[in-house]
Structures are given as structure tokens and as C-alpha cells.
């Protein structure tokens, strides 16, 4: 559950604003740390790994409304500091394309960064325990645990938002009980069908319409595991493949690996 597919304006102001502030502080710190060495090499690497995540996220599995994210793969390749920056970049581009809300961009950055860092740490730990021959198992288990953790984080966020002021709503001129619109001219000038009703409904319009956290949790914990398994299979396959053909990338990280030159490019060195 890499990022929050919650539209703009659903979460309370304090929550998404805190997310923005925390994300900007984290990105600022990560940026300063990353700029200390080899910036020239990190910029294109960050760009291609972020773009790879965007390509994966654009391939949606429609019946499940799920798309793969490659967060754990990206986390393993980038390490924790660059992961934070990649998470922010991915979310900015997604928000631009209308895929993620702008207000939840900060929270989304924190969610993706958590998933990437958790995936990276778990993968390293599991490989240390299971040996390098079990790359696929390590990748799969790390992915499932990382996704389960961030899904729980998501449910926690919705629970935090559940009773907040931003979830209260006015119902417009519509009475939710009868699904009838009240009419300003209800004194008899216009009173038919959808415009029936009116009078005192507006004054007594229900304010509280809290999100149902239990139902939301039930849905994400039911649909989520299918996505976790898919993501785990794909991450395991990809990391297994890369460990076989380019082991340096997985064990040393993309920056630690020896520079690889494409035939024909030797002239630019």
C-alpha cells in the first residue's frame, strides 16, 4: 500500500499539513546528506529509479485497482537516504498527473519512504540470515512485511482523520435520509421531484459524517494481501534476476556497483 489514494480535502488540515512539514524536513535533511558526495552520479540514478517506479505505478491491475510500486526494489538499489528523495520525486510527478492528491503529497512521501527504507533494511537483514542464495525469498518476505506495515500505517492515518473536522460535511441542499433536494423557492413556486422538501432541513443538516475506519480497514486488509503477494512475487523475481546478471547492484547498491558501459559509449569517457 505504497501511497494513499485519498482525494484532496478528505483528511483534516492538521494531518496533511503535518505530513507536508515532516516530508519537507526529511527531504531537506536527505538532500543535504546526499549532496556531500558524488552528486553528479546520484542525480541520474535517482531520476531513473524514480522513473522506473513511476512506470510500474502506471501499470494498473484494473480488477483489483492495484498497481505495482517497486518500492522495495528501489529501496534496495538506492539505500535509505536516496529513498527519501526518490519517494518525494515520485509523489510530485504523480500529483502533477492527477494520480495522487496534492494535499496528501507529504503523507504519501512519508509512506513511500517508510516502505522503501523498511524494505531495504529487511532485505539486508534477511539476506544476512538466509544467505545470498535466498535472494528471492528475502525480497518476497521483505516486501510483504514492508507493505503490511505501511498498510497499517494507512489505516492509522484514516483512524486519525476519522473524527476530524474535515470529515464533517454539509450535505448541500440534499437530505441524505430521503435523498431529496431542498429548494429555496419551496414556498410553492418550485416544488417537484428532486427539488421537493426544503424548509428546515438546512438548519438541521447533519454535520458529522465520520469516515468508517473499521470498514476501511476491512477493505484494505482484504484487498491488500492480494497486492502484497503480487508485489512480493514481482520484487522477488526482479531482484533475483538482477542478482544473477548484475550481482554488484544488489549487494553493493547501484552507487557501489562498478560503472557499466554500454558498447559504443566508450568514446565519452
Amino acid at each position: 500500500m505504497s501511497h494513499i489514494h485519498i482525494p484532496d480535502g478528505v483528511l483534516p488540515l492538521w494531518l496533511w499539513l503535518s505530513g507536508w512539514v515532516a516530508a519537507l524536513v526529511l527531504v531537506g535533511i536527505a538532500g543535504r546528506l546526499a549532496e556531500r558526495t558524488e552528486v553528479r552520479r546520484k542525480v541520474p540514478l535517482l531520476a531513473v529509479v524514480s522513473a522506473l517506479m513511476l512506470v510500474a505505478m502506471s501499470s494498473e491491475i484494473v480488477p483489483l485497482a492495484y498497481h505495482i510500486n517497486l518500492t522495495v526494489v528501489a529501496g534496495v538499489l538506492l539505500g535509505p537516504v536516496l529513498s527519501v528523495i526518490a519517494a518525494f520525486i515520485v509523489e510530485v510527478v504523480l500529483a502533477m498527473l492527477g494520480h495522487g492528491g496534492v494535499t496528501v503529497l507529504g503523507l504519501n512521501t512519508l509512506m513511500i519512504a517508510t516502505e522503501m527504507i523498511l524494505g531495504w533494511a529487511l532485505f539486508r537483514g534477511l539476506v544476512a540470515v538466509l544467505s545470498r542464495r535466498r535472494v528471492r525469498w528475502a525480497a518476497a518476505v521483505a516486501t510483504v512485511i514492508a507493505l503490511a506495515c505501511t498498510t497499517t500505517l494507512l489505516v492509522g492515518l484514516v483512524a486519525l482523520a476519522g473524527g476530524g473536522a474535515a470529515t464533517t460535511r454539509e450535505t448541500g441542499a440534499l437530505n441524505p435520509a430521503s435523498l431529496t433536494f431542498s429548494n429555496p423557492l419551496s414556498g410553492g413556486v418550485f416544488r417537484a421531484g428532486l427539488f421537493a422538501g426544503g424548509g428546515s432541513e438546512a438548519a438541521t443538516a447533519p454535520q458529522a459524517g465520520s469516515l468508517s475506519v473499521a470498514r476501511f480497514a476491512a477493505v484494505v486488509y482484504t484487498l491488500g494481501p492480494i497486492g502484497w503477494l503480487l508485489e512480493a512475487l514481482i520484487s522477488a523475481w526482479m531482484l533475483g534476476y538482477v542478482a544473477r546478471v548484475r550481482p554488484g547492484l544488489v549487494w553493493e547498491g547501484a552507487l557501489g556497483a562498478h560503472p557499466h558501459h554500454v558498447p559504443g559509449d566508450e568514446g565519452v569517457r
Partner: protein, 270 residues
């Protein structure tokens, strides 16, 4: 996601929105987004959506592309609404808000070259983040094309015809694995090019000056008006809710005018 079309639309001079300065568009976007965020009135949200749609129509952008992109978040919003909304009305409001915010973002993206959208972000984040942001957008184009080609080649080589979920998943994963290696080679190539060109840790984006101050002001004023309506209805809901149905009416008139303007041949304003 046809990013090539997005780029083509953003850099061409199709309509009035393309001529508005990026700074004014970003201010208007922020105000319009704020109005979508503030409202919890379905009719006001619908009014905002129709107004934003009118702006898209009059901007002469590819409507199929714009609405397809804007519809994407509605799928997730629908699931969120089904999962958590206390009643159908709130669910509908959540979906309308998602589509309105999405359409607003997409309209800006389809009328503004991406470096100019990223320029303000670049000013507030560390250099490496801003530069990587600019390069990511461009790299995404390349990788999407490459991924489509790889996937087609792998499908053909595997002889996959029709629906074979397991074989298709395996082909997709293989394509993604190959794409990952290609991407890392691409990063290396980019590094070489940047090294040769003397990159020193900052790509500078020039923000162009406005050539159409009147259009800029009109767009920002319209967005301010939308925010004012949204805030007014939110603050004074007890008195105003019964008049909510009035909000979509001017929006629909605007949409009709935009459709009429779009149907007429464009005059060369330059």
C-alpha cells in the same frame, strides 16, 4: 499513460491557457485546489468541477487525454468512498472532489511545460532533489516507451496470445527486470553526458516573464472567486445550503460558452 501527448500539448500554443504565465497558473491552481479542499457540499463541488472542465474545454487541450487522466484518481476515490464514506452523498462528494482536483492538475500540466511547473519546487528543495525531479520526468517518457516495446517483444517471443495471466505476469516481470538494467545503463550514460557538459550540481530553470498580464489577472481572479464561493458555502452552510443548487448554474453556462468557443475556428492572436 501517453506522456508524449502530454508534452506535446504542454509545449504547443493551442489556446489562451497556454499563454498565461506559469506563475499565474500555479497561483490559480493553488486557489482552485483550496476551493476543492474546503467544500463538502456536493453541489458546490460539482460547480467547481464543471468550472474547471470549462477551463479545460476553452484551453483547447485534448479533452480525451485530459478526462482520461482526471478519471484515474476517481477509481481509487470510488474505492475509498465505498470503503469509508458514511453515506452515498459523502461518497459522491469524495469522488467529485477527486476528479475536480485531478482535472485541475491535469489542465495545468497539459498547458505548461514541465520545467516551468517544477521551477518553484526546485527553489525550495535541495539542489539534488530539484535536478533529479527534472530528470525524472524526462526519463519516465523514455522508460515508458522502452517498457511498451520490451513487453511487446517478450509477448511475441513467448507466443502469448489472448489472456494468460500467469505467463503474462512472467513476461511483464521479465520486461521490468530488463527495464531496470536498461534504466541503470541510462543513468550511467546520463552521468557521462552531465560530466562532459560540466554539470556542477544545479540545473537552472528560467521562469519566463508574463506577456499577458490581463489574462493572468483574469485567471487568478476566477480562481479567487471559486475559493470565495467555496469558503462562503462552508462557513455559512446553515443559511446557504438551500441555495446550493444555484452554484452549478453559472458553471454550466461557462461550460456551454467554452464549448461554443471551442467549436469555432481559432483566431491567430499572436
Amino acid at each position: 499513460m501517453n506522456i508524449g501527448s502530454i508534452d506535446r500539448s504542454a509545449t504547443s500554443d493551442l489556446g489562451w491557457m497556454h499563454r498565461v504565465s506559469p506563475a499565474a497558473k500555479l497561483v490559480a491552481f493553488t486557489l482552485a485546489l483550496a476551493s476543492v479542499v474546503v467544500t463538502w457540499n456536493l453541489l458546490v463541488a460539482l460547480g467547481l468541477l464543471v468550472t474547471i472542465a470549462a477551463a479545460s474545454v476553452s484551453a483547447r487541450i485534448d479533452l480525451r487525454l485530459a478526462f482520461t487522466l482526471a478519471a484515474y484518481p476517481s477509481l481509487f476515490a470510488l474505492i475509498f468512498a465505498l470503503a469509508s464514506a458514511p453515506d452515498p452523498l459523502t461518497g459522491a462528494t469524495i469522488v467529485v472532489k477527486a476528479v475536480a482536483a485531478g482535472l485541475c492538475a491535469v489542465t495545468i500540466v497539459l498547458t505548461t511545460p514541465y520545467p516551468q511547473i517544477f521551477a518553484p519546487v526546485q527553489r525550495i528543495v535541495p539542489g539534488i532533489v530539484g535536478d533529479a525531479l527534472l530528470m525524472t520526468y524526462r526519463t519516465t517518457f523514455l522508460l515508458l516507451d522502452k517498457f511498451a516495446h520490451l513487453l511487446r517483444a517478450i509477448r511475441l517471443r513467448s507466443g502469448i496470445r489472448g489472456v494468460h495471466p500467469v505467463r503474462m505476469a512472467r513476461a511483464t516481470t521479465t520486461a521490468l527486470g530488463s527495464l531496470l538494467l536498461y534504466a541503470l545503463d541510462l543513468a550511467q550514460r546520463d552521468y557521462d553526458v552531465m560530466w562532459l557538459r560540466g554539470y556542477s550540481g544545479r540545473l537552472r530553470v528560467h521562469m519566463p516573464k508574463s506577456h499577458t498580464p490581463a489574462l493572468d489577472a483574469a485567471l487568478v481572479a476566477a480562481a479567487l472567486l471559486a475559493l470565495a464561493a467555496s469558503v462562503t458555502w462552508r462557513a455559512g452552510w446553515q443559511a446557504l445550503n438551500r441555495y446550493s443548487w444555484l452554484v452549478p448554474i453559472p458553471a454550466l453556462l461557462l461550460l456551454a460558452a467554452a464549448l461554443f468557443a471551442r467549436s469555432r475556428p481559432q483566431e491567430d492572436s499572436r
